[in-house]
Symmetry: C2
Subunit: 334 residues, 2 copies
């Protein structure tokens, strides 16, 4: 047998590359936008522990479930939740077909840009706006409406598309966990069908891994074609004590890692922390008034008070965005 | 450089094995318990079409979603839904702590094995039994109860554990689709938390890919430990027109393949069929009175009438269990 030495070397190299591809990826810095410090150290150590097959904290890939809040955890939420900008734009777009809204609250306040009246809305008024703008269409129509809005709408302060305002360091965490066999879920108070049209593209999270608040839908045959019609009736509020309920309903197993930024995430963090074995809980503390926003205990949006205390007391990772993050958004990368 | 020829051969062989592992698996018969015929041919052709990257029917792996009914599609459902045997056994187990049940319907009928009274129960009585046996505990307690029951309970006709009565040909379909990049979901009228404790072990379907009927749960702190308490209140009925609703809620994208056996699956099949691109719809027709059961239009359990007509008229695969299947259950394999 004649041996072709360069060919042999090539094959050997290929084989080695195949065999060692995974370990070489781990050796790189998977979190380049994080400054070295306790926050980065904690997550790297956790991932190393649960993926070490010989370690006592090893977790099977099928059980590597991580849950992420969205507003204020994966993208910004100031000066108000981005979905509320969608609601406002939809009220304005639908106003010509609803002439009565000109004189009828809460629609009047939206159409007149009456910030004070909007701020005083309360839950009932807000719900009315959501139902008027999110229901009465089919699931396919609503998906298209969300996609169209995202492709044109601009954030008022930055002038950028809303999906530009996602956190680069958190994108790195998502990719890092995914590369280590985790299944990442969004568990958000936001609308499930408002998020699903874009989470795969922006976060690499497919529709079936998005949990959120929802309205009821109804199956109907329209001219022989089946549709799901969105009804003006609440189905589920995926916030606070609703988050563990939503997690149980959709995933059916307990996360081993959870990421949040407000008291709305406290129960999800507690539910995650209470499981057996290695756990990782992270609270994002918005401390950077210059590069993003700084807010916590006194803010209505992203209110962070009890969860901050519990985070400090329980030894959860509390990220200081100003100190821990090299950049906030992907467009700031050099 | 000195070349070690056996080592070289070994490395080359390893490399070839790695490179060709996937294609050689496809070349084998993935459905050995299916007789050659139109049913087997249709599914093999569908899978070939949606996985052929150069073909016009190619579907990205992320969109290869298949949904399966459970009762009568993946396991037997006669002489009655297996979950009802669980209900009956639970009523008997809980009776000592509920002395009033001795004189109170529908519990009295269960405790006295009064088949006639049970058959006449209707939806309200049935719901009462389900709530009394499925609620009032935590999710963790209920999961353990289901596991304990399955490890001891025996099917009345066959004397076998219920999880023995799964269909070998359908296990092969599940594995075949999984090997071809599909994500398999159960979409059942049965209880979501009744199925999740065992679907991974029996079908290879993890908890997050199980959709079913559910009762409400509530997050509570008990002595500093968070629990989800199961409430005696219906949350969702995942049957008939509820199946597309459940699919949309949990998966957020439309299946490209759906498998059912009764009119309770009709809307799921219609919803699947109405999507764009290649589709596969299968109805399991129980035609084998000798090896399993034969029933369709006149049966209360697994009632198959409209869906059978629509299956024939629309060119869906209608499996004739007697003709198409070499064996029914795994324990019949030689």
């Amino acid at each position: 047998m004649k041996i072709n030495i360069p060919m042999y070397r090539y094959l050997l190299l290929s084989l080695l590359l195949i065999l060692f591809a995974s370990s070489s990826a781990v050796a790189q810095d998977a979190l380049p936008s994080w400054n070295d410090g306790p926050a980065k150290k904690a997550i790297v150590e956790f991932v190393a522990a649960v993926t070490d097959e010989k370690g006592r904290d090893y977790v099977e890939p099928a059980e590597r479930i991580a849950t992420f809040d969205n507003d204020g955890t994966l993208w910004s939420e100031q000066p108000m939740y981005f979905q509320l900008f969608f609601v406002i734009d939809r009220v304005k777009a639908l106003a010509p077909k609803n002439p009565a809204w000109k004189t009828q609250q809460p629609f009047k306040a939206v159409l007149e840009n009456d910030i004070q009246a909007l701020a005083a809305l309360g839950e009932k008024g807000l719900l009315e706006l959501v139902m008027a703008t999110h229901a009465g269409n089919t699931t396919e129509e609503f998906e298209q409406t969300v996609k169209n809005w995202l492709s044109t709408a601009k954030h008022p302060k930055t002038g950028r598309p809303y999906t530009d305002l996602v956190y680069q360091p958190m994108l790195e965490v998502l990719a890092y966990l995914r590369a280590n066999g985790f299944k990442n879920y969004i568990v958000s108070g936001g609308g499930i069908e408002f998020m699903r049209p874009w989470t795969e593209r922006v976060y690499g999270i497919p529709p079936e891994q998005v949990i959120g608040s929802s309205i009821k839908t109804k199956f109907e045959m329209r001219k022989g074609h089946p549709v799901l019609v969105r009804l003006p009736e609440l189905n589920f509020i995926d916030d606070k004590a609703g988050k563990p309920v939503g997690i149980n309903q959709h995933i059916g197993q307990r996360p081993i890692a959870a990421f949040g930024n407000s008291d709305g995430d406290l129960q999800m963090l507690q539910w995650t922390a209470a499981g057996k074995g290695a756990r990782y809980m992270l609270i994002l503390h918005h401390t950077d008034a210059e590069r993003e926003w700084a807010y916590d205990r006194k803010s209505k949006i992203g209110h962070l008070d009890k969860a901050l205390d519990e985070g400090f007391n329980s030894g959860w990772t509390v990220v200081d965005m100003k100190e821990d993050w090299k950049v906030i958004y992907p467009f700031q990368l050099k």
